[in-house]
């Protein structure tokens, strides 16, 4: 007799698969809409999109619990969305409205959210690493078993702060999950043009940090690696370093004519589009069908439309409030 498949198992896998796919599509469509809104002058300042890199944020953040913390970079809309900051609060932030998650004080590069322990949105390359180390130190000193996920790009490894933080986190065995999003370019400078040693795991490894590369275009690989690393970090073994090998399909920011890379290279990487790859795999496994994809797209479109509506209807902070939040209004002991 042929054993019956556990009916719960495929359902669970399917639910989770749909969740991952849905999150990646959310990030992709949100970013595409941001580009449109930028062209329409609704969003201003600098705008950095993570199109092509969605699998990293979506995969890695699966390993985090609500008590864990995230420190991210100026290319952080995706992480913020996946972490659970409402799309409308992020969009309103980019509109500069006081309904935004940072009350319009931060904009695209400085998404903050206390409720989800999202500590920015840091626009100084490498500048977030010491903060993640410090959050981890606070956890260690207070005997909390939490993971502090710190996202940064390959450009950060050239900064002194990267090396100082690798050393300190390893020396003090702090619970930091270093998530390096290696998209091969520090703005327009290719890794191989700026680093004498391009193996980033080797750099982390030299500080006695467990480090391994991950296919950053494969959401399941990202998720699996993050779970494995988070388990180690949470157990108190000190930091882990994941090098997510990924690629940015769009320009660095909205002002970038991309003179530094071949179109051919971009097209080759697009063949490994994380969303297309995952969809194809799920279809091959017959876990999803056209209706599922349509439903995801519809739901995402509705969510984004609602976010824009919310941002459009949002209010501007009164100018009288300009000097608020330079110092805390209430003493806190």
């Amino acid at each position: 007799m042929v054993p019956q498949a556990d009916p719960a198992q495929p359902t669970l896998q399917r639910t989770h698969a749909l969740h991952l796919l849905s999150d990646m599509v959310r990030v992709r469509r949100f970013e595409e809409k941001c580009a449109e809104l930028y062209s329409a002058s609704k969003i201003r300042g600098f705008l950095h999109l993570c199109i092509g890199e969605e699998a990293v944020a979506v995969g890695a953040i699966q390993a985090l619990t609500p008590d864990d913390a995230i420190v991210a970079t100026y290319r952080e809309h995706g992480h913020a969305l996946v972490r659970g900051i409402p799309a409308k609060a992020i969009m309103a932030e980019m509109y500069g409205k006081q309904d935004g998650c940072s009350r319009g004080r931060g904009g695209s590069m400085h998404i903050f959210d206390a409720a989800t322990r999202f500590y920015g949105g840091n626009a100084i390359v490498g500048g977030g690493l010491p903060i993640a180390v410090g959050l981890a130190l606070a956890d260690k000193l207070q005997g909390r078993s939490r993971v502090n996920a710190c996202f940064f790009g390959d450009g950060a490894v050239a900064e002194g702060e990267f090396h100082e933080c690798m050393n300190l986190a390893a020396l003090w065995k702090l619970p930091v999950l270093f998530c390096c999003e290696n998209n091969l370019y520090a703005m327009g400078t290719a890794l191989k043009r700026s680093e004498s040693e391009t193996d980033l795991c080797l750099k982390a490894g030299s500080y006695e940090i467990a480090a391994w590369p991950v296919d950053g275009m494969d959401v399941l690989a990202c998720e699996e690696a993050a779970h494995r690393a988070a388990l180690e970090v949470r157990a108190g073994g000190g930091p882990c370093f994941l090098e997510f090998r990924t690629y940015r399909f769009r320009a660095h920011s909205m002002y970038d004519p991309q003179l530094y890379r071949d179109k051919q290279e971009v097209e080759e990487w697009k063949l490994r589009d994380p969303i297309a790859l995952f969809q194809t795999r799920l279809r091959e496994q017959e876990l999803i069908n056209d209706d599922d994809v349509k439903q995801i797209e519809d739901e995402v479109a509705a969510e984004i439309a609602h976010a824009i509506e919310f941002a459009e209807a949002g209010t501007l902070e009164p100018i009288d409030d300009l000097t608020k939040f330079v110092y805390s209004e209430r003493q806190r002991s």
Partner: protein
């Protein structure tokens, strides 16, 4: 003698150590972090003995990584701790400038008021010890330029003892500048000396003829100059700013309104200095009270020289303060 009037003989260094020790005893969230604060006992021996009493978790020797450990202090403050970070000397703080200026001073504002940073950063400042051009500068006023920071310059035993307490109660980043020539200064301090306010300037010597406005390492020199001037029947008032940000403009203007003459003594360089700021505020707020233009005594605009006679010539001195005031008073009858 009642308990309230009991005094003890104490140095500035010991007063700070007592303040730190008390903070560690009072609040389990407080810890000390910096280069050689533990086993070595502190570069200026301020933290001597604390490692033995409180252990290595709370008295943390760090690598020579100013950016990482100052940033880790910021992160730890975000994570619920009350770090006291020691930077050996003000010149080294420049290696942590990214963390101090781009993170500590901005995150409350960038996050729309969500994340405050209750960190205290102590550092040695100032010249007068033949330490030449990389250990002698006065960037106190420079830091006072930055919204989001509070800048304290304790010049007395009471302030050395009491400012730390208040700084630790503050919800926002506080920088404490300890002038290197003060550590060995000895005097009497009330045995029950405790917290002091950190927003107000103090009249250290009342007078009616001229206001000597100063802070930190030049307070003692200004008081000595005032005594010498008294022999000439010139009654100088000495204003100790105590806090460079927020600057207590009210006390400055009130003093100038009484004396109608102002000399600012500032160990920083003259160009773009805190003395320039004070002068401007007097112009804005007390112009019609002035009998004479505001005078300034600042450090010569050179990197600090090593040779003793040259260093002395570069700094405001008792003799130059006296001479400036005499010239001022002579010219005005």
């Amino acid at each position: 003698m009642t308990a309230a009037t009991q005094t003890m003989r104490i140095t500035y260094r010991e007063a700070i150590r007592q303040a730190i020790r008390e903070a560690l005893q009072r609040d389990p969230r407080v810890f000390v972090m910096g280069e050689d604060v533990g086993r070595y006992g502190g570069c200026y021996a301020v933290t001597k003995g604390l490692l033995q009493e409180f252990g290595p978790e709370r008295i943390r020797d760090t690598p020579l990584s100013e950016s990482a450990f100052v940033g880790a202090g910021i992160g730890a403050a975000l994570g619920g701790m009350r770090p006291i970070v020691e930077i050996m000397t003000v010149n080294f703080s420049l290696l942590a400038l990214d963390q101090i200026v781009n993170n500590a001073a901005t995150i409350l504002h960038m996050s729309g008021g969500q994340f405050n940073i209750p960190i205290v950063i102590r550092m040695t400042t100032g010249a007068g010890r033949q330490l030449a051009a990389q250990h002698s500068h006065s960037f106190d006023g420079w830091y006072a330029h930055i919204p989001g920071l509070k800048v304290l310059t304790p010049a007395t035993l009471e302030d050395a003892r009491g400012m730390l307490w208040t700084a630790l109660e503050d919800p926002d980043p506080v920088l404490i500048f300890e002038h290197g020539t003060l550590y060995n200064v000895e005097g009497d301090l009330a045995a029950d000396a405790g917290a002091v306010n950190i927003g107000q300037a103090a009249i250290r010597r009342p007078g009616k003829d001229v206001s000597l406005i100063t802070y930190g390492g030049t307070l003692g020199k200004s008081l000595q100059a005032a005594e010498q001037l008294a022999a000439d029947k010139i009654d100088a008032e000495v204003v100790d700013l105590r806090t460079l940000r927020p600057l207590d403009t009210g006390t400055i203007l009130d003093s100038v309104a009484r004396t109608h003459r102002a000399v600012i003594i500032d160990e920083g360089w003259r160009s773009g200095s805190i003395s320039a700021e004070i002068s401007a505020r007097i112009m804005e707020g007390a112009f019609y009270e002035l009998d004479l233009p505001v005078a300034r005594l600042c450090s010569a605009e050179v990197p600090m020289p090593y040779a003793k006679h040259m260093e002395e010539a570069a700094l405001p001195q008792v003799a130059t303060i006296v001479e400036t005031v005499r010239r001022m008073m002579g010219g005005n009858g």
